[in-house]
């Protein structure tokens, strides 16, 4: 029988399926970052003066800031911000201004992302599935089902279009949850953000289908600066999903996104992410630096749920947070973070309780294999006015092999004596006993690891929408290929 030491490496080494490059003509702005570049990006996108002022203000703040170094990330390389191309877009053919470029179509087909509506319209799929906004490098190339959604008054489009068509909404909500000077990367994003999704659900509307954004980095030497804004007006509800991939390269590429979610009174937002950026090769070369700020604001009685499956990126620095401002608002954070080879993840959440009787729940499952480091970092803060508020947090770590690290850094701050905070964390590993038990019953070692990991992460995977859950399960199994121990 193969012993555990042999099986783990076998399970954790695998090919990154999405690592191909699309050969397409693209236009770039010159390398580097200065006021001129920001003006160029803004004029390329035909933006109004107020947005340009917003960017320039962000840029002047960013220049005074220093990159944060408190993360447990020993492999975070020094990023040369002058060595990045801040805008890259596929060239539009003048004879096909409306349609999507066939090469792009093919790219997204290959990734399994339905950027066309034909399948559904032809009745191939039994039910309407998902409306997709596909972002390729710095621009959104296609948004599907816009008409169907518009009938209900739902606005779902790329951020740039929203700026053109709904400037009043964008102006009202932009940077209302993540202020421009919130942190180093949020300020950078505010200065140079290119495209992302914009979504507005009007009062009382239940969104009839899942909304989804798909982010693809293609061009070399570029960074992607996604900006997403989701507004759920009073009593509305929506389920939103986000996915991402990038080609395999020996260089590190920067992805610094800002996602803002406003959940008005009694509204309900579910935000799911399956993050599968290129994680670098087995020697730790290349991979995406995923440095992201995501935050939601809950008004009275509102509900926001974050579900994330993090399997990619060389470096992940990400803390989806909720400000529970309104009385009786609730939030959940469910996360599975898997790191393998030389990946490092420092991820978790912040739950800021301000309103009365606010509730939050945190379930975080970390899985480390290879030489990776996986940290949970979280904050639960009960403000002075958080009467009767409650939080429960649970953070588990699973270690596969003896060369990886698993860490937990929670912070609990309690200013209110009627609130209650509970936190617990454990670590475990896949034991030889468990593997033996499976082997004995005819389950091969790699399947056994997949089985155990999926069982371990089940509580979180169950929270994902159907389409994502299947993908996530596969991802977990594939990403562990070659790592059993």
């Amino acid at each position: 029988m193969k012993n555990v030491q042999d099986i783990i490496p076998a399970v954790t080494q695998h090919e990154y399926r999405e690592g191909f490059v699309t050969d397409i003509q693209q236009e770039f702005v010159p390398k580097g970052l200065n006021e001129e570049i920001i003006r160029t990006i803004s004029s390329l996108k035909g933006e109004p003066q107020w947005l340009l002022d917003f960017r320039l203000d962000a840029f002047s703040r960013w220049k005074k800031m220093t990159p944060p170094s408190w993360g447990h990330l020993s492999r975070l390389p020094k990023i040369d911000f002058q060595d990045i191309i801040y805008y890259a877009a596929p060239k539009k053919d003048s004879d096909r201004p409306k349609e999507i470029d066939p090469a792009l179509q093919e790219t997204f087909d290959k990734l399994g992302i339905p950027v066309g509506e034909r399948e559904v319209l032809a009745g191939v799929k039994p039910r309407e599935s998902v409306a997709v906004d596909a972002v390729f490098d710095s621009v959104s190339v296609s948004t599907t089902f816009r008409k169907t959604l518009a009938e209900k008054g739902i606005i779902f489009c790329s951020f740039s279009e929203a700026v053109r068509e709904h400037p009043e909404l964008v102006r009202k909500y932009l940077a209302s949850v993540v202020p421009v000077g919130d942190n180093f990367y949020a300020a950078l994003n505010s200065a140079v953000f290119s495209d992302g999704s914009f979504c507005y659900i009007p009062k009382g509307v239940k969104c009839p289908m899942d909304l989804s954004s798909y982010f693809r980095i293609n061009a070399s030497g570029t960074g992607q600066f996604e900006r997403t804004l989701i507004i759920a007006d009073e009593g509305s509800s929506v389920s939103y999903m986000e996915g991402c991939t990038a080609p395999m390269r020996d260089e590190n590429q920067l992805h610094a996104a800002v996602v803002e979610i406003i959940v008005e009174k009694d509204a309900d937002v579910r935000y799911s992410t399956v993050q599968n950026w290129y994680p670098g090769d087995a020697q730790g070369r290349g991979g995406i630096l995923n440095l992201v700020t995501k935050r939601g604001l809950c008004k009275e009685g509102a509900h926001l749920s974050w579900t994330q499956v993090e399997t990619g990126s060389a470096i992940t620095w990400k803390y989806p947070s909720t400000v529970l401002q309104g009385d009786g608002s609730t939030s959940e954070f469910y996360s599975v973070a898997l790191t393998n080879n030389w990946q490092q993840a420092d991820t978790g959440t912040k739950m800021i309780h301000l309103g009365r009787n606010t509730r939050s729940r945190i379930v975080s499952k970390g899985i480390s294999a290879g030489h990776s480091e996986n940290s949970y970092r979280g904050l639960v803060r009960m403000g002075k006015g958080a009467f009767g508020a409650r939080n429960f947090s649970r953070c588990d770590s699973l270690l596969i092999g003896s060369t990886c690290g698993a860490h937990t850094f929670p912070v609990i701050q309690n200013f209110n004596n009627t609130s209650l905070v509970e936190h617990e964390a454990t670590t475990s590993r896949i034991s030889e006993d468990q593997l033996f038990y499976c082997n004995q019953r005819g389950i091969g070692p790699e399947d056994a690891v997949g089985l155990i990991v999926n069982g371990y992460a089940r509580e979180v995977l169950q929270r994902l929408p159907m389409e994502f859950a299947v993908e996530a399960q596969k991802l977990l199994a594939v990403n562990l290929e070659g790592s059993v121990g």
Partner: protein
């Protein structure tokens, strides 16, 4: 062996290294009225060590107490248990910053850490940071932290059986701190109970 330190009164070591396989119990107690910053760093360099650390901090008025405990398992095969219990009333500020570090290859380590704090007034503040930093896979490790106030249902239970509210609260607080209190010498215990 038991060692009891009254913070602010006895001399408290900042750093300790355990090089022998021994059983050691350390108890820290912070009496009411004392403000202190307590850094404590202990390294386990020998297998077979059984370490227990208990902490009790009573801060009913405007004390500021901050524990910064580091337990480092540099070799495997040892066990450490930590239990810190605190009470914050008045405008007290209490902090617990505890880290369990398990070095690469410190296999078969068992390390546990718990921090529970009672918040008795609306202007007191608790800051709790129980942390784990683990570099070995064959270990058993957990931590837990809670903050909250006295359970109103327990209070109601006692009052409905004729126990006056004042006494019922004292009983609740007594039972909350008793897991640590029991490791204190009789004399200290009496002093604490008299001041509840």
């Amino acid at each position: 062996m038991d060692r009891v330190y009254r913070v602010g009164i006895d001399e408290v070591p900042k750093r300790l290294t355990l090089k022998e396989a021994e059983e050691l119990r350390l108890v820290f107690v912070v009496m009411p009225g004392i403000s202190a910053d307590v850094p404590f760093d202990i390294s386990i360099e020998r297998e077979g060590v059984k370490l227990e650390i208990y902490g009790l901090y009573l801060c009913p008025r405007s004390e500021q107490v901050n524990f910064r405990v580091r337990v480092r398992h540099l070799v495997g095969g040892s066990t450490s248990t930590q239990l810190f219990k605190g009470i914050a009333g008045g405008s007290a500020r209490v902090g617990f910053d505890g880290l369990i570090y398990i070095a690469p290859d410190a296999q078969k380590t068992k390390a546990f850490q718990e921090n529970h704090t009672l918040l008795l007034s609306d202007s007191a503040l608790i800051d709790s940071r129980p942390q784990l930093e683990i570099y070995a896979d064959d270990v058993e490790c957990s931590h837990g932290a809670t903050t909250g106030s006295l359970n109103p249902e327990e209070l109601f239970y006692m009052r409905s059986r004729g126990i006056p509210e004042e006494l019922a609260r004292r009983i609740q607080i007594h039972s909350f701190i008793s897991p640590v209190l029991k490791y204190l010498p009789e004399e200290y215990r009496r002093q604490i109970l008299a001041r509840l």
